[in-house]
């Protein structure tokens, strides 16, 4: 099935879960990533049981700090 992940359309195995996609895409700090599917957030506790469907648009949103400190 085709999914659009972070803006790129690619072929993925049917029945892939959000948790499997996170692993496949080697998402940084996977335990703290926010995921949206078709402009709806997926609760982090539901990544494993949320299956993706052909045509889904998936975005990963990452924590990003600031650049204020030098030390």
């Amino acid at each position: 099935m085709k999914l659009t992940v972070s803006g790129n359309e690619k072929e993925y195995a049917d029945g892939l879960s959000v948790a499997q996609l996170i692993e496949l895409e080697k998402v940084e700090t996977p335990q703290y990533v926010t995921v949206s599917v078709n402009d709806e957030f997926v609760e982090s506790g539901a990544f494993a049981e949320t299956s993706l469907n052909a045509g889904d648009i998936v975005e990963f949103l990452y924590f990003m700090g600031g650049g204020q400190y030098g030390f």
Binding site: F41, F63, G66, G67, Q68, Y69, F71
Partner: protein
Amino acid sequence: MAFSNEQLERYSRHIILQEVGAKGQKKLMDAKVLIIGAGGLGAPAALYLAAAGVGTIGIADADEVDLSNLQRQVIHSTPDVGKAKVLSAKESMNAINPEVTVNTYQEFVDASNITDLIADYDFIIDGTDNFPAKFLINDACVLSKKPFSHAGIIRFKGQLMTYVPGAGPCYRCVFREPPPPEAVPTCRQAGVIGAIGGIIGSLQAMETVKFIIGKGDLLTGSLLTYDALKMEFRKIKLPKAKNCAVCGESPSILKPFDYEQAVCKL
């Protein structure tokens, strides 16, 4: 209020713009903007807003200028090392534009003072580098119905979003809780390229100007991400979280609070 000849000349490139004009310039001169953090993001934002003639700019930061700041915090200069960042920032801003009133707050911003601090301002810029501060600013702005610009930078990447009361998701809709300390890299550990602060902080200034003059589309309901190595901008749609703890349907956060895990050091 009529413009002086000097003001007409100083702001001529604004006034000639259809979207700004004399009316927009007057709005900028009447506006009050608070910048929390006089660092990598706050530096360019403060310089551009002062140059633009924003009438009152507050700047909050408890730190002093360090030599390692100067690689990116372009509002401070080498002779400023050891000086309070807010004073160094004020001097640079007033050197560019003596008309701007700069209010300095050399203090840590926390739950005890943030509500009073933001009360006098029309728009707030989050130029902090730590998650407890970012959540604190979000919660206080949501609860006080203040629009603000959130941003973060790390290595060669940056991102920002704009919150406007009643017009889209807040930071906590997207990122529910701060990650535990050390769980995600900070700039101190990971490094940050100086120009990233210039790009993202300038975009925060741009959002501020657009909000004040009431023109264009803001980053409400969107996160703009920038990857300098790929040289790629992406605008990602952000939904509102119905169960958001501060702006959702039945909020559990009713007043600003500090996370204990780290000192909210601005």
